[in-house]
């Protein structure tokens, strides 16, 4: 998606969907439209109905009570659409990811959607708690194909060294243990 031809042939219309968040991310989303950031100069506009949206900015870990409304709202957004999962709660369930009334962020939500035959929408994950308005802007631009992704998975695998046995110069185990026990019992060497 990122870097390819933009799929929207007009400005990005954004619907803001809160699935039970603390409002931290929501305020930063709103802050994007404030004068200092002014994301509207990039053609991004906030709409009041999911039916008008291209991109859904999704916040919150999805509480079970909000779940039905979230599903309805997401179903109402016409294709092509993208979901910008904003913040720790949406990306991974947040600090309460395993609480029993929390579904667990967008990926857990998608499992429920898939079980109902609704395909997983294109998703951009924006970590943060809350992410800066600029970080969310970057995420929206990524969704729009106007930015390059910088974050990559990183794996380090330690090299297995030659031989794992006790290195040279260390005394045999039996003597060591006997000495240690003697010291412990009699308080000295």
């Amino acid at each position: 998606m990122a870097g390819s031809k933009p799929w929207f042939f007009r400005s990005t219309w954004v619907f803001h969907l809160n699935s039970g968040s603390c409002n931290g991310c929501d305020i930063e989303v709103l802050n994007m439209f404030a004068p200092t950031q002014d994301v509207e100069r990039l053609g991004v506009k906030l709409v009041g109905s999911p039916l008008h949206a291209d991109v859904v900015v999704f916040t919150g870990p999805v509480t079970y009570q909000a779940l039905p409304y979230v599903v309805e709202a997401l179903k109402a957004v016409p294709e092509p659409k993208a979901v910008v999962a904003c913040g720790s709660c949406a990306c991974g369930g947040g600090i309460w990811h395993d609480s029993y009334n929390v579904v667990g962020g967008v990926n857990a939500l998608y499992e429920i959607l898939e079980s109902q035959g609704i395909p997983k929408p294109t998703t951009i994950y924006v970590p943060g708690c809350p992410p800066k308005p600029e970080a969310i802007m970057y995420g929206v631009l990524l969704a729009r194909g106007l930015a390059e992704q910088r974050q990559r998975r990183e794996v380090f695998v330690e090299e297995v060294p030659e031989g794992l046995a006790i290195p040279e110069g260390v005394e045999g185990l039996e003597e060591v243990v006997a000495k240690a026990v003697k010291a412990f019992r009699y308080g000295g060497r």
């Binding site: 929501d26 802050n31 200092t36 609480s99």
Partner: protein, 569 residues
């Protein structure tokens, strides 16, 4: 009751039937009373101090069965004039797990008692509305999430497995109500206001009953934002992880929650927080108040249709966010607290940053505000709108700017000083007109007062440590920590478990109290005024919904409880 000495209070409480009165920490009295004598005690207190002399802050239900006891209920009453919190401890009847309800005597206790009913299964005998509050109407009976035998991470989907119902079926909204009036049954049309109405940013649900353009009644059915925090704190979390949990109760006033929690633990454990840390906490708390009020001004102007105001206020607010970022590492969720102190210092350079910001914000805010007050169309929409009488405010336990706009001079910074507020004089902003305009004026004055306080704190901040040494937490101590959040009194109650855990944590955010005043304010108003009236209490829905909620199991329609609402007030 003017600043009664502790001796008088103890005597009074004993004479009203208390079995034991002790002082768990400064500013609090632990009052043990038998359940039989609870109503008498409350009645006697009300008689002595009057409705405005004692406030019901919250009630905490505790599953004390593992402690060789039954269920316990702690009623937290605030005696602002006496600068004390009363912790009224009642043990439930063992056979019925019940205590008498005090809601008939103190209406402000309504929601708190219902919450304990919902989450712990404690019965409150005599409660006028013993219906579900937090959990959905069709939540399975007999399963009480906050009981110690319920595992915190058993997901709802597991609970509902095999019940044959999809847990994400939308609840049906009742569109027409039958209400019994004097002339017989009358049909009303309800306008669902939410859960994703553009005027609101959170998924909350107001049911507003209308007759033409007039609001007959309103009902709040929220608690969509329950995340099971209280349960999480008792189970997976450690004492020093909870400040981060508390900070995420609300993304606007999070730091005040982190402070109230830390204060509760520090009070319970008798930890002396170094003075410099107290000053740093106070400075950050006031910075949070600044950002929150400026945010509110923006939202209020937006709701009134004055988007220039929204833009201007959020432009002014940006400075505050940048300073917060420089001081704490993030614009919001400061992450500055651990039990015993703070994690970062405010050095001379940072202090200079703050002072420069304050000068700019003060100048620009004052200027813009005076322009808007000169605009007739703004003032007309808020004058005389959304009235909450002083009596109603006191009865329903309203707090913060909302209460102060209705003439009640209450402010935790003065009544129960915490952090460094005991070292300064705080000017409390009070108005008498009880309408939305009054709430605007109160918040304006508070912004200016915050600016003045931050300057004073920065000037007087002493040198010293940032963290208490040797933090030791003894088991089964109770502590009450209260702060004046931007929206009002924020109370946290902690019962320690010893070591690294807590036994019970009960945060009660200010909006909890203020939301209960919404039906009263909306009655008789024009439908078009509903958004600004709701916005005028500065509702923070996530603060109110910090406990868990679970979805309905069947599609059964809930019987309306309108009669109960009409009876209120």
């Amino acid at each position: 009751m003017r600043r009664a000495s502790e001796y008088d209070l103890k005597l009074l409480l004993k004479s009203l039937g208390a079995e034991e009165v002790s002082e768990p920490h400064e500013g609090a009295l632990l009052v043990r009373v038998n359940w039989r004598r609870l109503p008498g005690l409350i009645q006697g207190l009300l008689r002595e101090v009057g409705l405005e002399g004692v406030r019901h802050s919250t009630c905490v239900g505790i599953d004390a069965r593992p402690l060789n006891s039954s269920f316990k209920v702690l009623h937290i009453l605030a005696l602002d004039a006496a600068r004390k919190y009363l912790i009224i401890e009642v043990e439930a009847r063992r056979d019925r797990a019940s205590v008498p309800s005090i809601t008939p005597l103190m209406p402000a206790a309504n929601w708190a008692e219902r919450e304990a009913m919902d989450l712990l299964g404690i019965r409150f005998e005599g409660h006028p509305e013993p219906y579900r509050l937090i959990l959905p109407d069709d939540w399975p009976e007999g399963i009480y999430p906050l009981r110690k035998d319920f595992p915190y991470n058993r997901k709802l989907s597991q609970l509902l497995k095999g019940s044959g119902r999809l847990s994400n079926e939308p609840r049906s909204f009742s569109a027409n109500y039958l209400v019994r009036q004097e002339e017989g049954w009358v049909k009303y049309a309800a306008v669902p206001f939410g859960p994703y109405h553009p005027a609101l940013h959170e998924p909350e649900y107001f049911e507003v009953l209308v007759e033409g353009e007039r609001v007959i009644d309103a009902r709040y059915r929220g608690f969509f934002v329950h995340r099971g925090m209280e349960k999480l704190a008792e189970s997976r979390m450690t004492v020093n992880q909870i400040p981060f949990l508390a900070e995420r109760i609300c993304g606007i006033c999070g730091y005040t929650h982190a402070c109230a929690y830390c204060q509760a633990v520090e009070a319970a454990a008798g930890i002396d927080v170094p003075e410099r840390a107290l000053y740093i906490r106070s400075i950050l708390l006031e910075i949070e108040r600044l950002h929150s009020h400026l945010l509110w001004f923006g939202v209020a102007y937006h709701v009134l249709g004055f988007d220039t105001g929204f833009m201007a206020m959020w432009r002014i607010r940006e400075d505050v966010m940048r300073v917060a970022e420089a001081l704490t590492g993030n614009r919001k969720t400061y992450g500055m607290n651990l039990v015993g102190g703070v994690r970062r210092d405010i050095d001379v350079k940072k202090a200079a940053l703050v002072l420069r910001m304050l000068d700019r914000v003060e100048r620009e805010f004052k200027e813009f505000y005076s322009h808007t007050l000169a605009m007739g169309e703004v003032v007309e929409r808020v004058k005389g709108v959304g009235v909450l009488t002083r009596e109603d405010a006191a009865k329903l336990g309203a707090v913060g700017p909302h209460a102060r706009a209705s003439g009640l001079s209450i402010d935790v910074r003065v009544d129960h000083p915490y952090a460094a507020y005991g070292f300064v004089d705080v000017n409390v902003a009070v108005q008498d007109s009880c309408d939305v305009l009054a709430r605007i004026v109160v918040r304006y004055e508070e912004v200016l007062e915050s600016i003045r306080l931050i300057r004073e704190f920065l000037t007087n901040m002493p040198e010293g440590e940032l963290m208490a040494e040797d933090v030791e937490i003894p088991p089964l101590r109770v502590g009450v920590g209260a702060t004046e959040a931007p929206r009002g009194e924020d109370v946290h109650v902690v019962v320690t478990s010893g070591g690294n855990k807590v036994y019970r944590w009960r945060p009660r955010a200010p909006s909890y109290m203020n939301l209960a005043t919404v039906p009263t304010m909306l009655r008789g108003e024009r439908l078009a005024n509903v958004p600004i009236i709701i916005a005028s209490i500065d509702p923070c829905f996530s603060c109110t919904d910090h406990v868990l909620v679970v979805d309905a199991r069947t599609g059964a329609k809930r019987v309306l409880r309108l009669g109960a609402l009409l009876k209120r007030g």
